[in-house]
C-alpha cells in the first residue's frame, strides 16, 4: 500500500514534468527565464529608478526571487491540485494526498535544477562556496515544509471553497512583500521591522542570503523555532486533507 503510494506519486510527477515540457515551445527554459525577467523588472524599479536597492542588490534580488518563485509555485500548484482532479476522485478510489504531493515534488525537482544553476552563477559573480553551505539542506527543508503545509491546507479547502482561487494570487503577492523578497529587513523602519521579523519565510530568506552571500552560519535558536513551526504547519496541512477527503467525491465537479 505504502509502496504503491510512492510509485503513484513518482510516476505522476514524471508525467506532470513531461507534459509540462511539451505544453510550451521553450519548455524547461521557462524555469530560468521567468525568475530572470522578474529580477530585471525589480532591479529596474528598485535599483535604477527609485535608487533604494543598496549594495549587492542584484545577487540579493536573485536569491530572493529564485527561492520565492519556488515557494509560491509550490503553494499555488499544490493548492489547486485536489480541486483540479475532482473528476478523477469521483471515478476511482485513490488517496487524494497524491495530487498535492505530485506538485510539491515536481516543483521541488525543478527548483533543485534552478538552484544548482543559482549557486554556479553566484560563484562566478564572486560569492564562492563556504562551510556555511552545509546548512542549506536544513534551510530549504524548512521552506519546503512551510510551503507544503500552506499548500496542503489550501488543497484541502479549495474543493469546498473554490472561491479561494481568486484570492490566492493576491494573498501571495502581499506575502511576497512581507517576506523581504525584494528589499532587506534592515531598510524597513522601526515598528514595522519588528512585526515583519515574525514572518518565518522572511527569516528563512535572510538566513539563506547570509549563507550564500556572506558565508554566515544561520542563527540556530531561530532555526530551531522555525523548524518546529514548519513541521507543525505541514502536520496541520496533512491532517486537513485526510480529514476532508471523504467529502470530495460528493462535490460537484
Amino acid at each position: 500500500m505504502r509502496l504503491h503510494f510512492f510509485e503513484l506519486v513518482w510516476f505522476s510527477t514524471y508525467a506532470e514534468l513531461r507534459a509540462e515540457r511539451s505544453r510550451s515551445y521553450l519548455g524547461l527554459a521557462w524555469w530560468l527565464v521567468e525568475p530572470a525577467l522578474m529580477m530585471a523588472a525589480f532591479w529596474l524599479v528598485f535599483d535604477r529608478i527609485l535608487g533604494t536597492g543598496g549594495p549587492d542588490y542584484l545577487p540579493f534580488l536573485l536569491v530572493g526571487l529564485v527561492v520565492w518563485q519556488w515557494f509560491k509555485s509550490s503553494i499555488v500548484h499544490a493548492g489547486l491540485a485536489i480541486w483540479m482532479n475532482l473528476a478523477l476522485i469521483h471515478q476511482v478510489r485513490m488517496p487524494v494526498l497524491v495530487f498535492p504531493f505530485v506538485h510539491l515534488l515536481s516543483d521541488a525537482l525543478k527548483f533543485a535544477f534552478v538552484f544548482v544553476l543559482l549557486l554556479a552563477v553566484l560563484w562566478l559573480a564572486g560569492y564562492p562556496p563556504s562551510a556555511a553551505w552545509l546548512s542549506l539542506p536544513l534551510l530549504l527543508a524548512c521552506l519546503l515544509a512551510c510551503a507544503g503545509g500552506c499548500g496542503l491546507l489550501l488543497a484541502a479547502l479549495m474543493p469546498l471553497l473554490p472561491d479561494l482561487r481568486f484570492v490566492i494570487e493576491q494573498l501571495l503577492t502581499v506575502l511576497m512583500f512581507l517576506s523581504g523578497v525584494v528589499f532587506s529587513l534592515q531598510r524597513v523602519p522601526a515598528p514595522y521591522s519588528d512585526w515583519l521579523a515574525w514572518n518565518p519565510v522572511l527569516l528563512l530568506l535572510e538566513a539563506l542570503r547570509g549563507v550564500l552571500l556572506q558565508g554566515q552560519w544561520p542563527d540556530w535558536a531561530m532555526l530551531g523555532r522555525i523548524s518546529l513551526l514548519a513541521v507543525l504547519l505541514a502536520g496541520v496541512g496533512l491532517a486537513a486533507v485526510q480529514r476532508l477527503a471523504p467529502r470530495y467525491p460528493k462535490l460537484a465537479v
Binding site: 510509485e7 505522476s12 471523504p246 460528493k250
Partner: protein, 228 residues
C-alpha cells in the same frame, strides 16, 4: 455464506448546490445488501433510483453518511474507460499511469504492457502521444488497461461496449469471460434480459431504497409488473 461486502440501512447524502446551509439530498436513503463471494448481482431500477451511487459506495469511492458498511479485505473495481489520459504522454506512459491509479503495482503493469498494446490493437501508435489517437483508439486503450486489473469484486455500470463492431464483440466477450470466471460481480443495467442472462440474483431499487431482493425470476417479474 462468505460475505465480501455488507450494507445495513446505508444512506448517502449530497449537497446539490454550493450554498451555505443547503438541504442535503439523499441519493441513497436506505439500502441493505449482503454480497457473497462469487455472487453475480444485478441491480435494476428507474433513472435516479440511486444505482450508480450504490456502485460508488461498493467501490469504496463514497462513504456512507448513515447506516453500516462492512467490507472484507477485497479489492473492488468500478470499470471505467477514461481515467484522465494526459494528452502529451505516449500510450505506454498513459497505460502505466492509468494502471497505477487503478491500484496496480508498477511491476504488475510493466509485465502486462505488451498485452495491453496488443489488446488495444495500437501497434506503433503505443509509443506516440495520445493526442494523435482517434476516439476509438483512446477508448480501446482505456478498456485494455481497465480489463487488466483482476479485482475480487467487479462493478459494472451498464455493460460497456467499446469501439468498432469487432472490438465491441471482443470487449463484451472479455467482460462475459470475467463474469463467468467466478469473480464477484455487481451489474447495473436497464437491460433486463442481460441481467436475467448473466446474474444469479437481483436487487430492485426505487428512490434510494431497496424494494426487493432475491432470485432473478421473482424480482424481475415484480419489477416488470410494477413498471406497467
Amino acid at each position: 455464506m462468505d460475505s465480501v461486502i455488507s450494507l445495513q440501512q446505508v444512506g448517502v447524502a449530497f449537497h446539490a448546490q454550493r450554498r451555505l446551509r443547503s438541504a442535503p439530498y439523499w441519493a441513497l436513503e436506505d439500502v441493505s445488501l449482503e454480497l457473497a463471494r462469487g455472487q453475480r448481482l444485478g441491480v435494476v431500477g428507474r433513472n435516479g433510483a440511486g444505482k450508480s451511487t450504490l456502485l460508488r459506495v461498493l467501490a469504496g469511492i463514497l462513504q456512507p453518511d448513515r447506516g453500516r458498511l462492512r467490507r472484507a479485505d477485497v479489492s473492488c473495481q468500478l470499470l471505467s474507460l477514461s481515467l484522465g489520459f494526459v494528452p502529451h504522454l505516449s500510450g505506454r506512459d498513459n497505460a502505466v499511469l492509468c494502471g497505477l491509479r487503478l491500484g496496480l503495482r508498477r511491476r504488475e503493469i510493466d509485465a502486462q504492457l505488451a498485452a495491453i498494446c496488443d489488446y488495444a490493437e495500437l501497434g506503433d501508435f503505443f509509443e506516440q502521444p495520445v493526442t494523435s489517437y482517434s476516439n476509438g483508439m483512446i477508448l480501446r486503450l482505456g478498456f485494455a488497461v481497465a480489463i487488466q486489473v483482476q479485482p475480487d469484486v467487479l462493478l459494472l455500470d451498464e455493460l460497456l461496449a467499446v469501439g468498432d463492431a469487432a472490438f465491441q464483440q471482443k470487449s463484451s466477450l472479455a467482460i462475459n469471460e470475467r463474469i463467468h470466471a467466478g469473480t464477484t460481480v455487481v451489474l447495473v443495467s436497464h437491460d433486463e434480459d442481460k441481467i436475467a442472462d448473466l446474474c444469479d440474483s437481483v436487487l430492485w431499487m426505487e428512490q434510494g431504497r431497496s424494494v426487493l431482493y432475491g432470485d432473478c425470476d421473482t424480482v424481475l417479474k415484480a419489477y416488470r409488473a410494477a413498471a406497467r
